[in-house]
């Protein structure tokens, strides 16, 4: 029972992290109609910045805050320098352009930080484990990730649903032309939204950094999952991204945890252990396929068009 509970927490933590990535992706895709493959590079930059700044300042939290600001600035700069030239073109050009950005960022990181990767050590108060119930220990840091991402989710909810900027963002996701026609400074709005998306990706990267290593190309695997989340949740919908991210996170973790054992009851142990990892990593894509069959627009469509 504690095992199941622990796996659910693991799934929750992973899902919330995916949400941070997917939220930025879905906003950019929904509002600017831009396919941004380089989102994973911003995730990577967040991690590299955090690893560097926390050494400079000698403090994990300061380093994280500085890294967040730095990714925000990089994101806005990328929007102004590169993305603006891509909006009017079709999706294939977006893919090509942002794929070029991935190569650019990977190579830049190699030049600046070297190919070996960095590590981001945790402060002692986060590196241990916490007793949640008697006999049940859970990593303090993973718990901290859950708390921080829930906070960010609440902040996003208030920002998008309760503020004027949020209103414009929602309006942009539903009908971009009309927002522009009503005299809103759409350029500024785009830069802000892209910067916000970048900062969220950077936050995901820097929070993942102590669990994983900071390395070149770290964003590319997780980006695929973030796209899956975006598609399941419905493009442009923050709420959809949250629900889909949690679904994907929990399904992925529980699949990895329990699927092999279930298979072992039906198949020979060797066949099961060879088959289970492949099948459990397919679960997410099965979920996506089912959602797309039932609701082609995703679970919570932002209602554009």
């Amino acid at each position: 029972m504690t095992l199941f509970f622990e796996q659910c927490l693991n799934g929750l933590q992973f899902g919330l992290l995916l949400f941070l990535l997917a939220a930025g992706l879905t906003l950019v895709f929904g509002i600017m109609d831009l396919v941004n493959l380089a989102h994973g590079s911003l995730y990577m930059l967040g991690a590299y910045f955090a690893a560097t700044f926390s050494v400079w300042t000698g403090n994990f939290v300061f380093g994280a805050v500085l890294a967040l600001a730095a990714t925000l600035v990089v994101g806005m700069a990328v929007e102004v320098i590169v993305m603006r030239r891509l909006y009017s073109r079709d999706h294939l050009d977006h893919v090509l352009g942002t794929f070029g950005l991935i190569l650019f960022f990977d190579e830049s990181v190699r030049l600046i930080w070297g190919p070996a990767g960095l590590s981001l050590p945790l402060p002692p108060w986060l590196s241990g484990s916490v007793q949640i119930l008697s006999g049940f220990q859970y990593s303090a840091y993973r718990l901290a990730i859950i708390v921080v991402t829930l906070g960010v989710a609440a902040f996003l909810y208030i920002l998008v649903m309760r503020t004027r900027i949020g209103m414009l963002v929602r309006a942009g996701a539903s009908n971009r032309e009309m927002v522009g026609a009503l005299g809103v400074n759409i350029k500024l709005l785009y830069t802000l939204v892209f910067g916000l998306g970048a900062a969220l990706a950077g936050l995901a990267g820097l929070m993942q950094a102590p669990i994983l290593t900071v390395q070149i190309g770290m964003g590319e695997n997780i980006l695929i999952l973030a796209f899956v989340v975006t598609v399941i949740g419905g493009i442009g919908s923050i709420r959809g991204a949250l629900v889909a991210a949690l679904l994907v996170g929990v399904l992925d973790t529980l699949g990895r945890a329990f699927f092999p054992d279930i298979l072992r009851t039906m198949l020979s142990p060797t066949a099961a252990s060879a088959l289970a990892p492949a099948l459990s990593s397919m679960l997410i894509y099965l979920l996506m396929a089912i959602v797309l069959v039932i609701k082609p627009e995703g679970l919570f469509s932002a209602g554009n068009k």
């Binding site: 095992l3 796996q7 990767g117 990593s139 669990i211 994983l212 290593t213 190309g217």
Partner: protein
């Protein structure tokens, strides 16, 4: 850079005159193709292999049997399909005499057929899939590393000697990962309470597997994660509160490249290896000292040691056949002798061309400067031979 090298070597040739250019030289250069990973997260391993191979060439005066050596490095990107393409390019368009390298078992297995079909000599400097030691063994294929199972087999033996009663196995789901877990299982006498194979190389979060290992009540955990994944595993092992409560036993998870990132998390975690940087033979002392001198700030790994040996093995065959590489049988016979000073101490080849060698227990300790280093603690097995040599049809 390459041009400068070429000019320099040409000048040296001219200066030396015909005295050192042997009359029996039928070809002008020895061409070696080296396939490894030079891009992506595991590029550091490929770089270490290249550094060591280059150092070996330096030690050989950049000549083998009096002939200049040309090495063509190719990047497999850790992908089997790319590795196969690069291998075919080396054979068909560069027409190399030898191919060396290969970190990953799955890349090697994909690239093996064109090498064997073209009868090009291959010296594997890391990967050791069971198939190559067994049914896929070939007269022209040699290894200066090990068969995958050998290292975990040694670890299994060590766990027996420590009286470990039950263990949980975790590794990546690809050719080498399956070999590693099977290797432990073949020598370990206690109970294996569970095992997990994870998606490779994309899965880097092991929370679900660690939770299962903890809940299984196993007395110990055995793990195999090469490269960056090993860093993540050890960090997460500590964060999950398992370090210090459940002892960890490893193969190929802690090396000189991952240790600076694993730091304290690796302290006291044992591993098995056929080469450790402090092995006391003369060749090894020279290798380690010169490596650290040539590449400041870096330390060689077992990947590098195996690549260094690969260059020495190729050299021994070129020297023994006086550069007449057209006589494939003579080259094969020369290589089978393993007539060179290996940095792990000398070894013999089995009939399947896999080394028969000792395996050592390595531990992570703090040296006099407070730096974390790998240290040989004991010899676990002497003259270990892989358990697939019977399946090899070669005599």
């Amino acid at each position: 850079m390459r041009k400068a090298l070429f000019v320099a070597s040409a000048a040296m040739l001219l200066a030396a005159g015909p005295a050192v250019t042997p009359a029996w030289a039928q070809q002008k250069t020895i061409k070696i193709g080296f396939v490894s990973t030079f891009s992506g997260p595991t590029a550091v391993i490929g770089n270490d292999m290249r550094n060591s191979f280059e150092l070996a060439l330096d030690h050989l005066g950049r000549k083998m049997g009096g002939l200049p050596v040309e090495v063509i490095y190719e990047d497999d990107g850790q992908k089997p399909d790319v590795g196969k393409q690069k291998t075919e390019k080396l054979i068909e368009s560069d027409k190399v005499d030898f191919i060396a390298g290969y970190i990953w078992s799955n890349v090697l297995l994909a690239s093996l057929k064109p090498i064997v079909d073209s009868k090009t000599f291959l010296v594997i400097a890391n990967a050791g899939p069971s198939q190559v030691a067994g049914e896929l063994c070939s007269p022209t294929v040699f290894s200066t590393s090990w068969q995958n199972d050998q290292t975990p087999q040694a670890m299994g033996t060590y766990m027996n000697s420590k009286g470990v009663k039950s263990v949980y196995l975790i590794g990546p789901n690809y050719a080498a990962g399956k070999d590693m877990l099977a290797g432990v299982a073949s020598t370990y006498k206690g109970k294996i309470v569970g095992q997990d194979l994870t998606t490779w190389p994309s899965q880097l979060d092991f929370s679900a597997e660690l939770a299962k290992a903890k809940a299984s009540g196993a007395e110990a955990v055995f793990v195999f994660y090469p490269g960056a994944a090993g860093v993540q595993f050890l960090n997460q092992y500590a964060a999950a509160g398992l370090k210090g409560t459940i002892p960890l036993y490893t193969a190929f998870t802690i090396d000189e490249l991952s240790l600076p990132l694993q730091k304290e998390n690796a302290l006291g975690v044992p591993g098995a290896q056929q080469w450790v940087n402090d092995l006391p033979n003369e060749q090894n002392k020279k290798f380690v000292a010169d490596y650290r001198k040539k590449y400041t700030g870096l330390r060689p790994t077992f990947y590098g040691a195996q690549s260094y040996d690969a260059a020495q093995l190729i050299n021994s065959a070129v020297v023994a056949t006086k550069g007449n590489l057209a006589d494939k049988v003579a080259v094969q016979k020369a290589m089978e002798k393993a007539d060179f000073k290996s940095v792990r101490g000398n070894f013999k080849f089995g009939k399947n061309h896999m080394p028969i060698q000792n395996f050592y227990l390595q531990d992570v300790v703090k040296d006099a400067d407070g730096q974390l280093v790998l240290k040989t603690v004991a010899t676990i097995v002497k003259d270990s031979q892989d358990r697939f040599h019977d399946k090899c049809p070669m005599k």
